[in-house]
């Protein structure tokens, strides 16, 4: 065990995976010598050499497409897309190729790639360094979508993703790379070292894909969250003394609907929180499924607390971000009913 922030945990996951499997390759813009603009791949090139860790041309279509080819060869590429906002040029290779390869070849060719990408806002990155496009990927049959919320999970989930036989989109909530964030942008940031989940084993372990975590047990209402919003939810619950059950989805697809439904069966109320734009965000799917499974126990409408249906604005990012005020008000509404 050692103390790691999220970047270190992610770095360690790749290190462990590369150590164990010579087929694991890391590639992406600036990931090689420099070690990535967020330093997530620091030291890997030095340790594993240039043919396993290398910089890529600035072409996301190529980064994914080449990774698909490497995977078809038999390797396990871990491409990085520098910001999730820049994943769109690679969408066709992801949707039409990576996601479909096993199906269309009836298992002849497979695509065990893990696409890492920092996502989400809260760093004054403006609309092209802040987006949360995860919902789109959950609509694509054949892709798994994973989002960790803390160092321990980040490492365990990333190793599991790399070892998974199918393509995984691994979104990293960049706002909490260095410390958990409760949404109070005007308060000093806590480092991970003060957080229990920063105790991370140095070696190999996995956190299984497809399993949510109940990060706080409670009886009054279920909060569904992932990534940065887990910490916002925990903060709001603590501040307002609400006996909420807070669930960290960890994997969006396949979704751990068992854990979610069990919780809502207990609480009868549900609030979903994510930073992504509201309409057709993953919150819609969560709301639909919870309603389908738990209709008869629901005592209040399921609420979604999300980013607004606007692009991510630079100077007003804290107006956009679904922070404590909005989550607090939503909880009040849901608990009032």
């Amino acid at each position: 065990m050692t103390t790691m922030n999220m970047i270190q945990a992610i770095n360690s996951a790749m290190d462990v995976a590369m150590e164990r499997d010579s087929g694991v390759m890391v590639m992406g813009e600036d990931v090689g010598y420099f070690g990535g603009v967020f330093r997530a791949t620091a030291g890997l090139q030095k340790k594993y050499g240039k043919t396993r860790v290398f910089d890529a041309p600035i072409n996301e279509c190529g980064i994914i497409g080449v990774a698909v080819g490497m995977a078809a060869y038999g390797l396990r590429p871990v491409p990085e897309i520098q910001f999730a906002d820049y994943i769109y040029p690679g969408m066709d290779q992801l949707i039409s190729e990576a996601a479909r390869l096993r199906y269309r070849s009836a298992g002849e060719f497979t695509c065990p790639i893990t696409v890492r990408s920092p996502f989400g806002g809260g760093i004054f990155g403006g609309q092209t360094h802040s987006q949360s496009p995860e919902g789109i990927f959950t609509h694509v049959a054949g892709l798994k979508t994973v989002i960790p919320s803390n160092p321990y999970d980040a490492k365990g989930l990333l190793i599991a993703a790399i070892e998974d036989p199918d393509p995984v989109i691994f979104f990293e909530p960049k706002r909490i790379y260095n410390g958990p964030f409760d949404g109070h942008y005007d308060r000093p940031v806590q480092p991970w070292s003060k957080h229990a989940s920063s105790e991370v084993p140095e070696g190999h372990y996995t956190v299984p894909l497809g399993k949510a975590a109940v990060v706080r047990e409670g009886e009054a209402v279920t909060i569904l969250s992932y990534g940065t919003m887990v910490h916002v939810a925990l903060g709001v619950v603590a501040e307002n003394g609400i006996d909420a059950e807070v669930i960290d989805l960890r994997t969006l697809l396949p979704l751990d609907i068992e854990t979610i439904a069990a919780s809502v069966e207990k609480t009868g109320r549900c609030v979903i929180v994510h930073e992504a734009t509201r309409t057709s965000g993953f919150g819609a799917e969560l709301s639909a499924q919870v309603q389908e499974r738990c209709f008869h126990v629901l005592e209040a409408p399921i609420e979604r607390v999300t980013g607004w249906d606007t692009p991510y604005p630079h100077s007003l990012e804290w107006a956009y971000f679904p922070g404590p005020v909005r989550l607090g008000e939503a909880l009040k509404r849901v608990m009032k009913d």
Partner: protein
């Protein structure tokens, strides 16, 4: 800023390309001038691309107008291998003819022929190793045939029938045959190009000896994936051969809509510092020679090669297409590079190794072979608009290696609903 006072500027105009001939037009290709067979020099396989920047603007040809193999690109193949190429092309054409008719007979939904372009795949595959990996477009069925892949297996895919290893999931002709080094064909144009480069990079990174080869149509070179592939191939000097099959047409758009009015497709290679050849794609020996050169280049870590195959799409784009609506029927007849099968036949005859009788006999043999394979395949079913050959459950398999709960649930829901509805 530039002085704008009193300027009197000409109106700009938008240039929109137009093919030379449209339906009904008399066709003459007299302005297409090609270098003589044998006239283009052959650089050494490790030559610097900077030393051969003229090659994209000429045309490498081996078979001259009399069918003689001439010049430095003549691969000097043993007669048996030449015959093998002839047979591969003829078998491809026979296969195409039968499957096209099967589609017309309502036995499947779709088919695509490669008539007139048989040399592109057959000439190439003969020059590759059996374990080199091919990333084809939908028009290189010849690769499978050239690697002696069972016709019945191919036909079963086209029929989406019980023998279809792909479980009836893919549009006809979107074969996948890993054992034959043939990558799963995608419906999305050019996506296989960067994948081929990635496969080649993987092979190189692992110290393997196998190279990758890919094909796209000239129309598809416009896709961003083409640029991705060329860029990565150039940067990492990937052991890959990138073929552009310039058959002059992309559905109804002629090559001018991919940039063909301004330069050759081989010239694309210059932009990336990639060795680039432009060859007579209807000359099977030129295809062989160019592929062999490029393969050797790749195998010796001398880098990628881009090859433009200048050829002509003789038939419709697919069974959904009617070319008489957009191009002159005379084009195919008058295309100056002739027919690849006919040309190789004449070559063999010229060598004294072949004659009309042996040709006819081979033709008959292959037609029978295809017919027999067709009958066998049809025993396993054909596509029907209303019946189902594959069990509904198969639809839910292979989305992931392990079926996740939600897909299992959906599979069960389907079964249950059908039970409930009594269907």
């Amino acid at each position: 800023m530039a002085d704008e006072a009193g300027r009197n500027l000409r109106s700009l105009t938008l240039h929109v390309p137009e093919p030379k001939f449209r339906p009904g037009d008399a066709v003459s290709f007299d302005d297409m001038v090609f270098p003589e067979a044998g006239s283009v020099a052959r650089p050494s396989v490790d030559a610097d691309p900077a030393t051969m920047r003229d090659l994209p603007f000429t045309l490498i040809r081996v078979l001259d107008k009399d069918g003689k193999a001439v010049g430095p690109w003549n691969p000097r193949l043993p007669v048996e291998r030449v015959k093998r190429i002839l047979r591969g092309m003829m078998l491809t054409r026979a296969y195409d003819d039968r499957m096209f008719r099967a589609q017309r007979q309502g036995k499947t939904s779709f088919y695509m022929k490669c008539t007139g372009e048989e040399a592109v795949a057959i000439g190439a595959v003969e020059a590759l190793h059996r374990d080199d990996m091919c990333f084809p477009s939908y028009r290189q069925q010849g690769l499978l045939i050239g690697r002696d892949w069972p016709l019945v297996d191919m036909m079963c895919q086209v029929y989406s029938n019980a023998g279809d290893r792909l479980k009836g999931r893919q549009l006809p002709i979107m074969y996948s045959a890993k054992e034959a080094g043939f990558f799963s064909i995608s419906g999305n144009l050019a996506t296989q190009y960067p994948q081929a480069v990635g496969w080649a990079m993987a092979s190189a990174a692992k110290g393997d000896t196998r190279i990758a080869v890919s094909w796209v149509g000239e129309g598809s070179t416009a896709e961003g994936d083409f640029h991705a592939a060329c860029t990565f191939a150039s940067v990492y000097r990937a052991p890959v051969i990138l073929n552009v099959v310039n058959n002059q047409w992309a559905i109804s758009s002629f090559a001018g809509f991919a940039g063909g009015e301004s330069t050759t497709f081989a010239a694309r290679g210059l932009g990336y510092g990639i060795a680039a050849l432009r060859i007579d794609g209807n000359d099977p020996l030129a295809v062989f020679a160019a592929t062999e050169w490029a393969a050797e280049r790749a195998r010796t870590n001398a880098g990628p090669t881009l090859i433009e195959h200048f050829t002509y799409r003789v038939e419709a784009h697919s069974t959904s297409d009617d070319p008489s609506a957009y191009r002159s029927a005379e084009e195919a007849k008058n295309f100056p590079l002739g027919d690849p099968i006919e040309r190789l036949k004449q070559h063999l005859i010229g060598l004294g190794e072949w004659d009309e009788a042996s040709h006819d006999a081979l033709q008959a043999e292959l037609t029978d072979m295809v017919r027999d394979a067709g009958r066998e395949a049809e025993k396993l079913g054909v596509l029907s608009g209303t019946g189902f050959v594959h069990s509904f459950e198969t639809m839910f398999e292979d989305v992931f290696a392990e079926m996740p709960a939600h897909i299992k649930e959906q599979s069960e829901q389907m079964a249950e609903e059908r039970r409930a509805a009594g269907v």
